[in-house]
């Protein structure tokens, strides 16, 4: 009983989960004959959500610390290209290293500009979005770079163990790790404190600049991993991959209850938010709606789901 009170007391916060279940149930009933409940289809939703989810976990940290990262989509795209080119030249291992290095390098640059030079992260990462995309286009000459390593493709997004796609594991690992770090480590607590009240956090002895730097590096690295997954899944690198993902990623986090103003965030909520977006996309396509109708329905469903989770005046 005592254990249940928090859930009941916060039921309006938790309704994002209820909202997810309701949408799922509605689709399950109305789209039963279109194969919605088909395991392959459900796994498809996972596949299509995994990259967004991985980036959104990191975004939860960024937003919780009071910053934002708009460059992730472009960084994912750039990473697909660097990975594909490195694999072509020096094999899969080099590809993985190149991918991670891309993420860390961009993250350090973002972090340095934001915390040392003092450019608001919105501008830093917006500028970086253009730079990363430009570099990706330039080095690949805007063409797709094929990846011919089956091992790489299997591990990064393409493979499955029996019916279960490898992407599910990536998503689960990112979610579990993120949740654990945010809730149970002192780093996570410092991230929340930095975003909740930067001055107070500094007074309490937290090096808030350092925290923000790290968070931006984490975000870029997660974007690079998402890029590696894109590359593995599509067996190629191309600058457009991941383009525009930043909005879906931020939306997933905000849907899950993370505040854009910092200090609040939950990784589980974020994952559910990402899955909700994937679920809606999937269901609307199965419904056979036109693209324009899909756009309208998606907006309406998001508003409805969130409206239910808000306190009335």
């Amino acid at each position: 009983m005592a254990e249940r009170i928090p859930f009941l007391a916060n039921w309006r916060q938790n309704i994002i989960y209820i909202g997810f279940v309701v949408i799922f149930a509605v689709f399950a009933v109305t789209l039963a004959d279109k194969g919605f409940l088909n395991p392959t289809n459900l796994l498809n939703i996972i596949r299509q959500t995994a990259m967004i989810a991985v980036m959104a976990v990191a975004m939860t940290f960024v937003l919780a610390s009071g910053e934002i990262d708009l460059s992730i989509g472009a960084v994912a795209g750039l990473t697909t290209v660097t990975v594909a080119m490195a694999i072509a030249v020096a094999g899969p291992l080099a590809g993985v290293l190149a991918g991670i290095a891309t993420g860390i390098a961009v993250g350090c640059f973002n972090g340095w500009l934001t915390t040392r030079i003092g450019i608001p992260s919105f501008l830093t990462t917006l500028a970086m979005m253009g730079i990363a995309k430009g570099v990706a286009m330039w080095i690949s000459d805007t063409a797709a770079v094929p990846i011919l390593s089956p091992g790489y493709s299997w591990l990064f997004g393409g493979g499955s163990m029996g019916p279960v796609p490898v992407l599910l594991f990536w998503m689960l690992v990112a979610g579990a790790l993120g949740h654990f770090v945010l809730r149970r480590t002192s780093f996570g607590r410092r991230v929340l404190a930095t975003g909740g009240g930067e001055t107070a956090a500094r007074y309490s002895g937290i090096d808030t600049g350092n925290i923000k730097f790290k968070v931006l590096v984490i975000s870029s690295t997660a974007a690079a991993i998402a890029g590696m997954l894109y590359a593995g899944r599509l067996q190629s690198g191309r600058f457009q991959l991941g383009e525009g993902d930043e909005l879906s990623v931020i939306a997933a986090a905000v849907l899950g209850g993370t505040s854009l103003f910092g200090g609040k965030g939950t990784v589980i909520g974020t994952i559910v938010g990402a899955l909700m977006i994937g679920l809606i996309n999937n269901g609307l396509i199965l419904m056979g709606l036109e693209f324009s109708q899909q756009l309208i329905a998606r907006g309406a469903i998001i508003i409805l789901a969130v409206a239910l989770s808000q306190k009335r005046a």
Partner: protein
């Protein structure tokens, strides 16, 4: 061996010289009072000691060891713990998480252990005999509970030097007493305590020595025995005064009923409160933390609209659903939490000052800048606010001066009914008398004033009647005069005697409440 030696400390913010070659030394096992008017530089020197500010010049030694890096971490490593005047809590975290921020309890695997932190926090609160829920989110707390959390945060660190910068502005006398008991224990263990407060009675009770600053300069350091209270005030203010006892109370002539509340209840508190406020009188609300005084003020001011009961103003029934309704009905509230409810820290003094009177100073929606300047300058002068210019951000003012901006903002609305919730929190002894005098003058001009204060001497000085509250309910309306002993000739002693009597009434109310509850 000295606990802290600061030599030749200077610190300037832009053109403002907050500290000018100040020496400051504290011994282990003493409570050292740091005194001075608003903007004298107290908080600044303490922030320098705590590593938040880097001094422009001067040296610091803690326990004989020079402190060369100026970061909060370095200071903490040297054994310094500090309670900040502007609440340094993170509103989105819980009480326990705030108390142990960066020092969280760990499980055997090295993970955060919130449960252990909560238990430890509960212990600290139990020791202080106060009720604060360690699991509550700080943003939801009232000012008093926040202050207790802040104190708990400072004292939970076993430190060699404990700095308390105005820890008691929102605390009741009984809470302060228990804090003092604890401080004496620390003192016995050899901890050096630096204590800042504008409440002179507290200083007299707890401090061993005092250092007084004025305008960023060191004035005197002496044992308390050598500093009688009027000398102390003279050093602080720069002229002779007896403090509150100086304020002359003429009898109020009560006029028509301005405000009448019938069976008024709010969302949490108050609970079924009845009261009447007349023109020309100051009505005090007395009670302990959580007694519902602030909640009553919020209901009257429309912040938390009443759930039950009715409010009549000048006999007319009014529906106060939002603050604008209250302002339109002539009610103004000086809120208790200045940082969040009172000011917009990044905006200028002038902008803050005119926020509630925008309609009055604009024609066709266009703000008259001359009027803005006139109001700001008038208030700066009237309340002697220490600021370089009216265009400076309020966040750059000292705590007491920020509070004066809040008061100024509400004086500018020229309301019929003024509700003051801890209006003098953080205001120095000189200005405090001025503000009480101002309150009396306003009443004499025919306004009705409700005043909440945890400092009983202040209530007794300002008010004509005092309503004692506990747990959201109104208990007893006491006539101020009935608390006075007419046979006592010395005004200072008379005030102290009245304070004790009021204290007893408050305790009685609480006892009744706990019996019922």
């Amino acid at each position: 061996m000295t606990a802290v030696v600061m030599k030749g400390i200077s610190k300037a913010f832009g053109g403002v010289k907050a500290l000018d070659n100040v020496d400051f030394a504290v011994l282990p096992g003493e409570v050292h009072a740091l005194l001075g008017g608003n903007g004298a530089g107290k908080s600044t020197i303490l922030k320098v000691l705590n590593g938040v500010h880097k001094p422009d010049a001067g040296t610091i030694a803690v326990g004989g060891v020079p402190l060369t890096t100026h970061t909060p971490e370095a200071s903490r490593a040297a054994g310094i713990a500090m309670n900040f005047q502007e609440m340094s809590l993170i509103p989105t975290l819980t009480v326990a998480q705030n108390i142990y921020l960066t020092r969280e309890a760990r499980t055997v695997r090295g993970l955060l252990d919130d449960k252990a932190c909560e238990a430890n926090a509960a212990e600290i609160f139990a020791m202080l005999e106060v009720k604060v829920d360690p699991k509550a989110v700080v943003g939801d707390l009232g000012a008093g509970q926040k202050q207790l959390t802040e104190i708990a945060k400072a004292i939970s660190q076993s430190s060699k030097v404990l700095i308390l910068d105005e820890p008691s502005t929102a605390l009741a006398v009984s809470d302060v007493d228990r804090l003092f008991t604890f401080l004496r224990k620390l003192k016995a263990q050899g901890v050096a305590v630096i204590y800042v407060s504008h409440r002179m009675d507290e200083i007299a009770r707890i401090a061993d020595r005092a250092t007084i600053l004025r305008d960023g300069k060191h004035v005197i350091t002496a044992p308390l025995a050598d500093l009688p209270i009027d000398t102390m005030i003279e050093h602080i203010v720069g002229k002779r005064s007896k403090g509150l006892a100086d304020v002359h109370r003429s009898d109020a002539s009560r006029g028509e009923v301005l405000l009448q509340a019938t069976n008024l209840s709010g969302p949490h508190k108050p609970d079924n409160v009845n009261l009447t406020l007349h023109r020309g009188e100051v009505l005090g609300l007395a009670g302990l933390l959580g007694s519902g005084r602030s909640a009553l003020a919020r209901v009257i001011a429309g912040i938390e609209p009443a759930t039950k009961g009715e409010i009549r103003i000048k006999g007319q029934r009014v529906a106060i659903r939002k603050p604008a309704d209250a302002i339109a009905a002539g009610v103004a509230l000086v809120p208790e939490a200045r940082a969040t409810q009172g000011i917009i820290p990044a905006h200028s003094v002038a902008s803050n000052m005119v926020l509630s009177v925008l309609d009055r100073i604009s024609g066709k929606g266009v703000v008259d800048r001359a009027k803005v300047q006139a109001i700001a300058d008038d208030m700066i002068q009237r309340l002697s606010i220490k600021t370089a210019s009216r265009d400076d951000a309020v966040s750059t003012l000292s705590g007491g001066n920020q509070q004066k901006v809040v008061i100024g903002k509400w004086l500018a609305t020229d309301p019929d009914i003024l509700v003051l919730d801890e209006p003098t929190a953080g205001i120095d002894i000189g200005s405090k008398s001025e503000i009480i005098r101002l309150v009396r003058d306003l009443a004499a001009q025919g306004k009705g004033i409700i005043m909440i204060s945890s400092e009983l001497s202040e209530l007794l000085t300002a008010c004509d009647r005092i309503l004692v509250m506990a747990d959201g309910k109104a208990h007893q309306m006491i006539d101020r005069a009935s608390l006075d002993d007419p046979t006592e000739p010395d005004p200072g002693h008379r005030l102290q005697a009245a304070e004790r009597r009021l204290q007893i009434e408050i305790q009685k109310a609480l006892a009744q409440e706990t019996q019922h509850g």
